[in-house]
């Protein structure tokens, strides 16, 4: 796979009105479902460089994303590989950058090594918009946007229709890339 097959990286940035330490701790919280990650939870021994992770649904039945933590520099930088279990595309790279600015936190999500023209590219673009907007709303107000709450309610209704390919038993942690 050469660089030409990849889409140019994309950046998604919001200003969050909260101290950097708080923004960081909400991002890497492994205990509770993250509404801005479609109510899935980090499932990993620990968010630390080299460790595998998967994004698992609250009922532990569905895994939407698997990957490995590539870099970890609290509270400024988290890099991980990212593969959507529902799609056949190779893993890409996701970076979160946090920077103190004007009394708040500048939060940037970067997607790289995404196969150009793939379904993953489309899905990650939609997903990144959802994440930055709702992460900001969640940290600032304690809840995600109204539109996102409707989306999440709809998702839980649709849960029985989740493809079997995303079943958690098909994606054990040690299969993460």
């Amino acid at each position: 796979m050469n660089e030409k097959n990849y889409a140019e990286k994309q950046l998604y940035r919001v200003m969050i009105d909260a101290p950097i330490e708080r923004v960081w701790s909400e991002l890497v919280n492994t205990e509770f479902p993250r509404p801005f990650f479609w109510n899935s939870r980090w499932d990993t021994p620990e968010i630390a460089t080299g460790n595998p992770y998967r994004m698992i649904s609250n009922n532990d039945k569905t895994v939407a994303v698997i990957g490995r933590i590539l870099e970890m520099d609290p509270p400024h930088r988290l890099v991980h590989s990212f593969r959507l279990t529902a799609l056949p595309d190779p893993p890409s790279t996701v970076t979160y950058l946090l920077k103190e600015k004007d009394g708040g936190t500048e939060f940037t999500l970067i997607t790289e090594h995404v196969l150009a023209g793939s379904k993953s590219e489309k899905s990650m673009d939609q997903g990144s918009k959802f994440i930055v907007e709702n992460f900001k709303a969640f940290v600032e107000t304690g809840k995600v946007t109204f539109g996102a709450r409707i989306t999440l309610a709809m998702y839980s209704l649709m849960a029985p229709l989740t493809p079997k390919s995303m079943s958690a038993d098909k994606w054990p942690l040690d299969k993460s890339e």
């Binding site: 990286k9 950046l11 919001v14 709303a137 029985p160």
Partner: protein, 123 residues
Amino acid sequence: MINNRDMDNVFQALAHRSRRRMLDIVKDQPGIGVGALASQFDVSRIAVMKHLAIIEAAGLVISEKQGRVRKLYFNVAPIQMIHDRWTTEYSAYWAGHLTRIKYVAESKQGVKEKDPLKKKESR
């Protein structure tokens, strides 16, 4: 939710034809250099830089220094947040549709005998 000051900056940035064209170019060519962008405009480089500073301050463009080149990337987030402020009704509309699709799918699986979609149509 995007605050009023940030929103003012976005609308101010968008309220100029050249700046909108700059955004189109950066969106279509992520990573384009400042020089390459400026070369597509007839005005002076200084004028281009001025416009660029305004769209960057509004958060619509993110620049990254790579060696000697300053590369530009479109940031959709501010526009996304403005979009959502006035369009959540539509999300509800689609959520309603998808819920009905679920009912149909379930009725086809034999989970439910009645198809609420058909019921609605027959009214």
